[in-house]
Amino acid sequence: MAEGVGEEKKKFSIWDLPDVPMGQLPPHLELQRSRVSCNKDAPIHTESIQYSGAYASMGIDNSSRLDRFSNNFRVEVVQLNKDDMEFDMIGIDAAIANSFRGILIAELPTMAIEKVLIANNTSIIQDEVLAHRLGLVPIRVDPRLFEYLSENDQPNEKNTIVFKLHVQCKRGSPRITVKLDALKWLPNGSELVKETRNATSDSSSKPETYTYFGCSQEIIPEFVKNPIIPKYPDIIIAKLGPGQEIELEAHAVKGIGKTHAKWSPVATAWYRMLPELRIDCNCRFLLF
């Protein structure tokens, strides 16, 4: 085959073929890179090819630089109601979308009842069960108006919301169902008096309670327009028979879903990839 001694062998490159697109991936590789295919037994190509040098030998840059991302990224809201929302994010990777989902569920702060001070509970619902149910109640308030309460802090008007529940079923009257609208907001703080040891405290000074409110929460303008109430006033807390009584005070604080699921602001949040249906035109059978 060699014509002369000094002649080089002709190098053959795949890019010289007429039907391979230059500067782009061949179509089967592009399908592999950008689509998850659903096969008969399991989906394939599920892990996204993130490595920037994945196609370096072909001379194709797989990195998605910030400017390209900024230009191509779009958000389209599909529906937006008071309690739920659905939107499409176009041009983002599953890793980031999953991080958003995790943050929505576990790391957004809300207010939820943490401490329940029970003065009297003669119902058949046990104390701890009652406290657990109260903790799961959603409260309609903006958590950004409050601060976190740590162990060294005293509960004051900036980090605590106080609710009171006092229901009684009189003897001879039929059984009553205690719903959440019986939970009253106390904007002035706790009303339960702490028992102090020293007997020399004079009766004219204000008795010490479980919270140290400097001022009333009512005067804050946001609360004047929207007083703090539970979101759904028809949730059943307990049921009382004749002669039973519940008297308690509940303190709500700010927290995140990681600590306890009661502080999770969403019922749930999920994401999925947009499905793409490709119908082969060579199909001979009618689909209907």
Binding site: S52, S63, F69, R74, V77, D93, S99, G102, I103, E107
Partner: protein, 117 residues
């Protein structure tokens, strides 16, 4: 915490406490997009302990700088997502308000024609 070597600072393992997949997967994604990175990955040594190990190997640049750049990129990306999201929600609310007005005006004028959407 960084586990590396004093002589070669282009490869290191960063151990982050109180973290989980949320940040580790997102940082791994942005790290991979950086052309200076030859290898990056993360692992969670034990699920009961909130600790994440992120391994970065680069083509010569110090691994710490590359990780910092990746975190910065992630922050910028999230900021951009937030802006775009806010705009999209406002746009949706505005267009919905317009649609509601259109429906109201059609009803009040006694139109029998259907809404053409």
């Amino acid at each position: 915490m960084e586990h590396g070597s004093f002589t070669d600072n282009s490869a290191a393992t960063f151990s982050l406490t109180d973290e989980d997949h949320t940040i580790a997967n997102a940082v791994r994604f942005t790290l991979n997009q950086d052309p200076r990175v030859t290898f990056c990955g993360y692992s969670i040594p034990h699920p009961s302990e909130a600790r994440v190990n992120i391994r970065v190997q680069t083509t010569g640049d110090p691994a710490r700088e590359v990780l910092k750049d990746a975190c910065q990129n992630l922050m910028l990306m999230c900021r951009h997502v937030r802006c775009t999201f806010d705009k999209a929600v406002e746009h949706f609310k505005a267009s919905n308000a317009v649609k509601a007005l259109k429906i109201d005006s059609q009803d009040s004028s006694g139109d029998d024609s259907e809404e053409s959407e």
